[in-house]
């Protein structure tokens, strides 16, 4: 078990290293940070001082090492656009994004998995067909359009729900939550549906496909031949085997939700990291972009680690080929 975790962490290291390298390369070579930070008027001395302060006169690997060391301590420099420390910018917006993502993920899982199981088991029923049509529409509707349509119907036409922002938030230390106020919860409904819908349909289709695959296996036929009840065959034998690959993909999808939040946050002007990121892309605010990139990578790697641990719990063989599981997503 211990060795297994270690090997998994070992596999995560190159991912993190690659990402920090890309982030550093962006930071160091894209655009000219000195010019951007100095603005219009500066003297050559100011310029030299800044170059030295930023360590840009150092050799490549020294700069990289310093960059990584700073990143570990949470120092990502100043935002070109806002002139404030990147860390505090991100910390302010992290709770909004995480709350939105978690609610959307829960929605996607709690609705998507049962729908997938149902459509896998009762392929011919009209409800299954309805779910499938729904899922195809869901996969074909871009997230931003779902958001716009929801706003049009529920905010503009019906006027039931707010169309932007987080509502009132309650602050605990550095964390702010919208889950404790009525307006915060109301504000969360449309964005979380928007963000969760696409993942929900993906999860449903995935669970269905896996379920059909598993139902064709010999061990399911044998379970039937042993006279086990439908319940035992479907929910004991079939579902458990379905879950093995589903956990992987779902894990990856949950990671994707955090990134997809970029779009949802733009549509709903949700004050999260995604909105910050998209504003930074427009402004070429490299420090914010590279910090965001590293943070997302860290989240994905952690999610992958959790997925691997779940795997360990579910599959005694631990040799299921994860590579064969393709992934689709925008």
């Amino acid at each position: 078990m211990f060795i297994y975790i270690l090997s998994r962490i070992g596999q995560a290291v190159p991912v993190i290293l690659t990402v920090t390298f890309i982030a550093f390369a962006m930071f160091a070579y894209v655009g000219d940070p000195v010019t951007i930070m100095l603005g219009q008027d500066y003297t050559e001395e100011q310029r030299q001082a800044l170059i030295e302060a930023l360590g840009l006169d150092q050799p490549f690997f020294v700069q990289y090492a310093r960059f990584v060391a700073n990143a570990v301590r949470g120092e990502f420099g100043l935002s070109y656009r806002l002139g404030r420390p990147v860390l505090s910018l991100i910390a302010e917006r992290l709770p909004a994004t995480l709350e939105l993502s978690l609610v959307a993920a829960a929605l996607a899982l709690l609705v998507g998995v049962p729908m997938g199981v149902f459509t896998g088991l009762y392929r011919e029923s009209w409800l299954s067909r309805a779910f499938l049509v729904f899922s195809l529409v869901g996969v074909s509707l871009p997230t931003f359009l779902i958001g716009i349509l929801l706003i049009l119907v529920f905010a503009v036409i019906l006027g039931w729900l707010p169309s932007f922002g987080r509502g009132e938030v309650v602050v605990f230390g550095w964390w702010s939550t919208g889950l404790l106020t009525a307006s915060g919860l109301k504000a969360l409904i449309l964005p979380s549906i928007t963000l969760g819908l696409f993942q929900m349909t993906l999860i449903m289709r995935l669970v269905r496909a896996e379920m059909l695959e598993v139902l064709r296996t010999d061990y399911i036929k044998f379970a039937r031949a042993r006279g086990l009840s439908n319940r035992a065959v479907h929910f004991g034998h079939a579902l458990k085997n379905t879950l093995v690959p589903v956990i992987t993909i779902t894990g990856l999808q949950l990671g994707a939700i955090v990134a997809f939040a970029i779009v949802t946050e733009t549509v709903f002007q949700w004050p999260g990291m995604g909105l910050l990121f998209i504003q930074s892309v427009g402004y070429a605010d490299i420090p914010v972009m590279s910090a965001y990139l590293m943070l997302i990578a860290l989240m994905f790697v952690s999610i992958n680690l959790i997925v691997d641990l779940l795997y360990y719990a579910v599959d005694p063989r631990l040799r299921v080929d994860r590579g064969r599981l393709g992934r689709t997503g925008v």
């Binding site: 061990y219 044998f222 031949a225 086990l228 599959d315």
Partner: protein, 358 residues
């Protein structure tokens, strides 16, 4: 009353090019404790017959005619829940590939206990005790420890032993063993067959042994049914069928088995291939490949008929009104030197005739 009786079973597969008849007029019976071998080429309908009996035909396959009786009670077309109670409890099943038959995510103990808890009035502790005893009975060393092992921790042969335990643990009266040794190493095939037969004799369980291996049938079965193109070509006591095959197809099948006792220059072979389901010829399905075929074989389909001894064969050579044709030697002259019915092994012809006379 036989334990299992199959009458005029017909299985169809609707396809877009029309309905394919995969089994047509299959009739046989299995007595309690008896071992019935079912042989034939792949595609002859052996496995399909087994699947129909246990009620697990894969859709769109369906029983389209005939009856299946267990203890005289009709079991085809039973509601799913009633049939489920029969599966495992009355009729067990063993599949071909032990590597895929066991659920990889459950220990063998869990799978055994689950089966017994479904069918027998036992509590979990008792089920576990019995599971250990079953593993011992099927020859798993260290059963008390191995019961908590997962299938992937067993070798192929050991897994098939576990599958046998699973098939027998609810004490069914009939086991359908579909090619139980095909996927195994040759060296352990005999062990598995011996184990299966021994355990079934002990528990008085009948076996429907589906295989394409005549050797296994000869060793194990009491009676044998030979299938060809979705029909039974010949059925009878295993000694009769092997020594004095009555159907030209069986003769060919026997001729293609190497024998240690008789020296043969060349193994006999049957020309041509079994027809596809969509193109089964009229009359006797075997006639295009048969050296004895005559006019009637091309137009009229033979049903199983008494063919001497206790065997029954679906072949016009044995029809009372065709006897003259036999005597006249017409079919024989069709291809001189060919193996003849009752002439399974070269040199045994005369004895065969003598047996027929008895």
């Amino acid at each position: 009353m036989p334990l299992l009786e199959v009458q005029e079973l017909r299985v169809e597969f609707p396809t877009r090019r029309g309905v394919l008849t995969a089994l047509d007029g299959v009739s046989f019976a299995i007595e309690a404790g008896e071992v019935l071998g079912v042989v034939g080429e792949s595609g002859a309908g052996k496995s399909l017959t087994g699947a129909a009996v246990i009620g697990l035909l894969e859709p769109p396959g369906r029983v389209a005619g005939g009856q299946i009786l267990l203890d005289g009670r009709r079991i085809d077309g039973l509601p799913y829940e009633q049939m489920r109670r029969i599966r495992g409890r009355e009729i067990g099943a063993i599949f071909q590939d032990p590597l895929t038959t066991l659920n990889p995510l459950y220990t063998v103990g869990q799978q055994l206990a689950e089966t017994m808890l479904t069918h027998l009035p036992v509590n979990p502790a008792e089920a576990r005790r019995r599971a250990i005893r079953w593993l011992e009975d099927v020859g798993i060393p260290g059963a008390a420890q191995r019961i908590d092992a997962y299938p992937h921790e067993f070798s192929g042969g050991m897994r098939q032993r576990v599958v046998i335990a699973l098939a027998l643990c609810a004490e069914p009266r009939l086991v359908i063993a579909d090619e139980p040794t095909t996927a195994l190493d040759v060296s352990i095939q005999a062990q598995i067959i011996t184990l299966l037969k021994g355990l079934c004799r002990e528990h008085g369980t009948a076996i429907m042994l589906i295989t394409h291996d005549m050797g296994v049938i000869a060793e194990t079965a009491d009676r044998v049914a030979v299938m060809y193109a979705g029909r039974i070509a010949e059925i009878g006591p295993v000694r009769d069928v092997i020594k004095h095959a009555r159907h030209p197809y069986t003769v060919g099948l026997m001729g293609s088995i190497p024998s240690l006792s008789a020296r043969v220059e060349r193994l006999a072979q049957i020309d041509g291939a079994m027809p596809r389901l969509a193109a089964i010829p009229p009359g006797c399905a075997f006639h295009p490949r048969c050296g004895h075929a005559f006019a009637r074989c091309k137009s009229e389909r033979p049903e199983l008929m008494d063919a001497g001894g206790s065997s029954r064969a679906a072949c016009w050579l044995h029809a009372a009104d065709s006897a003259s044709a036999m005597v006249a030697g017409a079919p024989r002259e069709a291809r001189p030197g060919d193996a003849r019915p009752g002439d399974a092994r070269p040199g045994a012809a005369r004895q065969g005739v003598a047996d027929d006379a008895r």
